[in-house]
């Protein structure tokens, strides 16, 4: 029996798209097993289903240096980041890029169980940090973490890291819980 696969429905009323999707999952339903139209359609599409599965299963390996090529191109495009002047002996300057400072402070936030640091901004964009600086940090919190306790631990962690690694005294630390993640 010939069926036209371009039709939306077979003469028995069944939908070819559904038949196709069922074929991917395994056995079509009871009707299809006893219906001549459905059987004809299944026979017509089965090689295509097999071929698709075979082709999809063929291993594909990206070139080993793909990540390296991407990152080389990305690093070549990075604009110079604004610098922060860290406190130091008079007359000697120590500068750090905001990006590097943010990296260190995020890493400190990450050390708190159930916390993933996201956005990290030192505010205002003061370029002289000889006094103190404010921090805005957004985080994602594991679903079972109490926000207050986590925020307290994050504040302590970033304050300590700022002092120990950057010589910076943080003033106000605003924490914004923007997301929740599973364990």
């Amino acid at each position: 029996m010939a069926v036209n696969l371009a039709d939306d429905r077979l003469p028995c009323g069944h939908d070819i798209d559904q038949l196709w999707d069922h074929l991917a999952k395994g056995l079509p339903g009871e009707h299809a097993r006893s219906c001549a139209y459905c059987q004809a359609a299944l026979n017509a599409i089965r090689p295509l289903r097999t071929a698709t599965s075979e082709l999809a299963a063929e291993p594909v390996r990206p070139p080993a240096d793909l990540s390296g090529r991407v990152m080389a191109a990305v690093r070549a495009r990075i604009a110079a980041a604004p610098r922060i002047a860290l406190p130091g002996p008079a007359g000697n300057r120590l500068l750090i890029s905001e990006r590097a400072a943010a990296f260190i402070l995020r890493a400190a936030g990450d050390t708190v169980d159930g916390v993933r640091a996201r956005s990290c901004r030192l505010t205002p964009d003061a370029h002289d940090m000889s006094t103190s600086s404010d921090l805005k940090l957004s985080i994602s919190l594991r679903f079972d973490m109490p926000a207050l306790a986590a925020a307290k631990a994050v504040r302590m962690a970033v304050r300590t890291a700022a002092r120990a690694q950057l010589g910076l005294t943080l003033g106000r630390i605003d924490i914004d819980v923007v997301d929740v993640h599973a364990a």
Binding site: L5, A6, A44, I45, L55, A56, P62, S119, A182
Partner: protein, 212 residues
């Protein structure tokens, strides 16, 4: 567009973690290994200039991005170029990603758009049986593939689809994305995706007729 949960679900955009590539080789000891961070966290960090966060995203998605490119283009060399350009474009356009948006869909869209336009440039679409010359350039199963098998026959048959149909087929039938996800990547509706697949199916099935 449907909003997706942005937490680390272990399943990003229909791609099981196990297929996302070897994430074990990344990450410095002082921070969480990138493999354990969700896309949204990595995207926010990368957007603020954290290159290592972006590198984690590249490691996570180089496999599916390259796979999609090579299946659309059928050429490892231009697929590698396309994947590289897609990632560099993604880096440049990170400020456009909305926090609640699925990064994978956004990235796949950049890659698919680029692959399809490359395909158009190097190989203008020629409908099946239009000319004998076309047939010589893209042999059907009767000339080549019977000896090589069903998968090879399909590879040739996919050449006869329009680039959009082909992208649909690859994303839905080979990458296992849902109709909704394919629609998001191709910037169209799930109904249009169904329609394209429905029209592609008889054509492909016909080319595989010798295997029935």
């Amino acid at each position: 567009m449907a909003r997706k949960p942005i937490g680390g679900t272990g399943l990003e955009f229909g791609v099981p973690r196990a297929r996302l590539g070897d994430a074990a080789d990344g990450g410095s000891p002082q921070r969480l290994a990138g493999a354990t961070l969700d896309d949204a966290t990595l995207v926010v960090r990368a957007r603020e200039g954290d290159v290592t966060a972006f590198e984690d995203l590249v490691r996570r998605y180089r496999m599916p991005v390259y796979r999609i490119a090579v299946r659309i283009l059928n050429d490892p060399c231009s697929a590698a170029d396309t994947a590289q350009e897609a990632f560099v474009t993604a880096w440049r356009r990170l400020p456009e990603v909305k926090a609640e948006q699925a990064f994978a869909a956004w990235l796949y869209r950049i890659a698919v758009t680029r692959a399809v336009s490359t395909l158009r440039a190097v190989r203008p679409y020629v409908p099946l049986d239009e000319t004998a010359a076309a047939r010589d350039r893209f042999p059907g199963p009767e000339e080549h593939a019977i000896a090589d098998g069903l998968a090879t026959a399909l590879r040739y048959a996919l050449n006869h689809l329009t680039p959009e149909q082909r992208a649909c087929w690859i994303l839905r039938e080979m990458e296992g994305l849902s109709y909704e996800e394919v629609a998001t990547v191709l910037h169209t509706t799930p109904g249009a995706v169904r329609g394209r697949l429905h029209r592609a199916r008889p054509q492909l099935a016909e080319e595989l007729r010798p295997w029935r």
